[in-house]
Symmetry: D2
């Protein structure tokens, strides 16, 4: 951590601050110039509150030199993490596709879609039981009943299931879920993240609509700090000024995250643009950029989907997509 | 709702869709031109899923004409809502200041600050017991104990208390809190909003960092749809490309919200910029723009605050600010 | 164009407006419901000023149904445009790479880099003679002398040259340039665009940092409206809240632009992230998403480049990249 | 400037870099810790290209400590600049309003509006002769003829005139203009800024839609570096994700700019929201935040304005606004 002092800082103010740091076991490196006086703090600065320092009236600026995340940091864990569940692997060269409807709507629907996506080569069945909707008047999901139907679809197909949690109180209901998803709107629901950190189960963490990659990794760190290191990161589009698409896919997040963390990174091209015909080019771009997997919405009858119909593929469209995904993943050296 | 068809739409496709709408009790107004065929849906379109329509392959675009919020809508409730609690009023010409530390840190601190802000003219004591922090390694708040200390500060001063909730499981702990705050990161924690809708207690709802005003009003609608119409809206800065301040205060949100809703609107200038010396100009601008109140961070010792010290005023600075706030509010015709 | 009236609109106001439109040769389709009264305008609404209509006090909203661009519109020109110059083609299945230094610095440098990128398979030499720099104290380019050196490099290698123009007064200097580039900061320098519309020469138009795709196409339309239809669109990253990269590459712009226009679309991965090691994954993603070409910065000595050294590849790195670009373009069915 | 090295940096690499800096007359302060090795550069680092340093493969990060602008910097010019022309002053406690139509449309219109705004207390007449329009098919302004009509309006009223320039070639036409405006889209048209730096005439520089305050000040620096220090900064709304208004007024820019520069800062509430009824609350907020002036669009017949009718006030509305502006400016201690 580097601390830059104002020209008006008095020597005794700086000395007192430095004494505080030394009492915390930190070393001070002093650098004093004609116009600039700064110090570097050396040692474990994880406990230093950057706001504490910034609030000192004689401090001009504070800059953190090391990343604030530890368990998620590639520096301290140079091997890529492979998340494995029910025999499926993601990360470290293993590529997987998670597919299914936005919402679980009824038994027939989820079982039909599950069979379809399995035959096309999906490794996981996704489906929403608890649905975060902007409007209180929209369909809110089948909730506990939806989880039951997902388990039935798993029995019918063998596909492990991925589904979203919205509240710590629902954790017991998710005991038998294979991968728990944290949605974009809950990326900084820290109470939820802390509780998920106590589970021994993969967590698919979606990036918030306006969260930086550092904040994204800090939310992963919340889960990992509790002991659960099976975190899968999912980029699903960020909010920008552009209006022709629902969100802007941040494709650069794939290589940038991979330069910072060992965790697997998947892309959700369905939510990124919110438009079914854009799923294919974005999915292929994700593979080319180095993603470890895809999450794709598939519905047996998109025009009648209870949510997100505009971005859902039909099973036939998904089947055609998977042919291209398989050859593209192979071209880029991934195994599926 | 207006639905615009593609040039390639076949008459029988349009007829089938129209028949579906008529079966839902909606009226169809047809408008067919050389290059454009569209229909207007008349009636209660609140139940029509705009995604259902958009996902039809023969539909080019769908535009909503009426606002999706009802209880929060000024159209159906033209009188401004005055939220009243413990004898303090916000809205409809009543201006109130909520002040106190970011975090409750100990008994001495919260009682000292409470007394100070009361003497300076604050109407409410704010203070965080449950703290959403970006890092799992930062101070997470005193939690239940912090709530207890807030109640003590209330006993000592008579100031009603405002404090943040992060989880539905904590609701019982907040029974005796005067105003429950929902933070920016939880603005779309819909499970939490739904539960707060069943309380009979004012909710201070903060706008999310990247949420539109329509989404903000839809989150208020979640609370109101459950029966709790005592919602106070709080703008606290949005996330933009600008880097010299933590967030960008959206001052225009004040008049724009007031043109759309009857709910009171307060501004948090402390979080907006994240810089103590900017609180005064932003607070005065908020009053000039028509805000109904302010939420301001005050700490007895900002450099040693456990959170947000960089943006906290000292009690003396707050006292000076309040003198300007009082005269400015009076100038703009508000009563305090 | 659809015009939605306020509830308070008086019949005679609406009649007068409609009479105005009919006098302009437009047809009116009326649609009147219980809560919503709207009209659709049919005919060539290109001349109707949407602000004129919006400013009427009895108008609630106006929505454009058709795109405001004509010559750039895929609807009226369904075949992809192939821009051809000096025997090199871009668009319609033809893929081309433009490479070279950010700035032309001296004869030896530009000729060395030109030879290197030619041997690696670049189709065009890029290089800046006039440089837009944020600071007046930074290197501003070699200007006219730089153009002369680019011509020498073209003589030495046969590579056509692409270079940026910043001012209408410089147009005579660019007579012998093969492709004129308009930089992101000048995307809405309309006086410049108009003049370029009178040339018979390909224009590479870069998207502004915060311009929507519709605005981007309108800037292309400015050039095309003057008669010059040889426009190449270049996405080079947009400005968002993310801080770990200089800009955010909007990869979705590729398929979205291709759904709206017949013009070729190239990607500049060097400027998008501003980081040399990210060029490769972003370049491959661009090909996978359907781009028609790439613009890449290459410098013989990046650490000593006078501008943009941080994002420049060495000739050896570029050579390795081109091997991957060639095989990837072939995999995705493009010819180079 | 602080340079942080990678763990993998070799001593001889660092030594060589330091030798280069010392050869430029800079002093090096070395700070070496267990996990962090950094140096601070002391002296005039204005000539050091931060990209040069960042591109070194053994450099982890570079941070600038001092601002890159000098002439615009408050540090080196602690007294506020008062821009004076034709007896009107802006800055240093002097508040001025610039008003008039978006576009000059005809003699009768501009003279009528000029007389109206003069009577209401405007200090300057604004009006566009050269108009930057998104569409090539929209009205492009009366150009040279519009400038002539502005001069007539000045003769008729005595009001100095403010009007926008779009191209260096037009500078001779602006010789007799009192204040030359640079529009948001040209804020980084550096060739134009350089030429304006050679004039002895106030320049009203508008902030670009997606430019940071530092970039804004660097554009002012371009003008000042040429010798023209009469720059007025104008904030007119930035581009964000919010869709209910055209732009988001960055009110915090007023105090933030005033903490960094001595130049006057005015606000354009008409363009900020693009909505006539929002002009008043935003204008009052601007005064409260400390602005030195306002730029406001007034049209004798907004519904028939050739541009920006939706945001123009009628002369009667402007007259009512000015009454509030005068009393508010007085309340906040400004003289008009």
């Amino acid at each position: 951590m580097i601390i830059i002092f104002k020209d008006s800082a008095r020597p005794e103010q700086i000395q007192k601050l430095c004494a505080d740091f030394e009492a915390q076991g930190l070393q001070i490196h002093n650098s004093e110039g004609e116009h600039t006086h700064l110090i570097g703090l050396v040692g474990d600065t994880g406990d230093v509150d950057i706001n504490y320092v910034r609030a000192q009236q004689f401090v001009a600026d504070v800059k953190r030199v090391s990343e604030p995340y530890k368990k998620a940091n590639l520096k301290f864990h140079p091997e890529p993490t492979v998340v494995e569940t029910a025999g499926r692997k993601i990360g470290g060269g293993h590529f997987a596709v998670m597919a299914g409807p936005c919402s679980v709507e009824c038994e027939a629907q989820i079982i039909e879609v599950a069979r379809d996506v399995q035959q096309s080569g999906a490794a996981f069945l996704r489906g929403g039981a608890f649905k975060p909707r902007t409007s209180p008047y929209s369909f809110q999901g089948m909730r506990a009943e939806g989880l039951e139907l997902l388990r039935e679809a798993r029995s019918a197909t063998g596909l492990p299931i991925v589904t979203e949690i919205m509240n710590t109180e629902h954790i017991p209901l998710f005991e038998d879920v294979d991968v728990i998803q944290v949605g974009a709107r809950n990326m900084q629901n820290f109470e939820l993240l802390k509780e998920l950190g106590h589970l021994d189960k993969p967590i698919l963490l979606k990036r918030g609509l306006a969260n930086t990659l550092e904040e994204f990794l800090m939310s992963a760190e919340y889960i990992m700090a509790g002991g659960n290191e099976k975190v899968i990161l999912c980029e699903r589009g960020i909010r920008t000024f552009e209006t022709s698409m629902r969100n802007t896919l941040d494709i650069s997040a794939v290589p940038m995250l991979k330069s910072k963390t060992h965790l697997p990174v998947v892309i959700d091209p369905s939510h990124a643009a919110g438009i079914a015909w854009m799923v294919e080019p974005l999915a292929l771009a994700a593979i080319a950029a180095g993603a470890d997997g895809l999450m794709i919405e598939v519905h047996n009858d998109p025009p009648h989907a209870k949510s997100d119909g505009a971005q859902s593929l039909t099973p036939a469209q998904f089947d055609a997509l998977m042919a291209r995904v398989r050859s593209t993943a192979a071209f880029f050296g991934k195994s599926m």
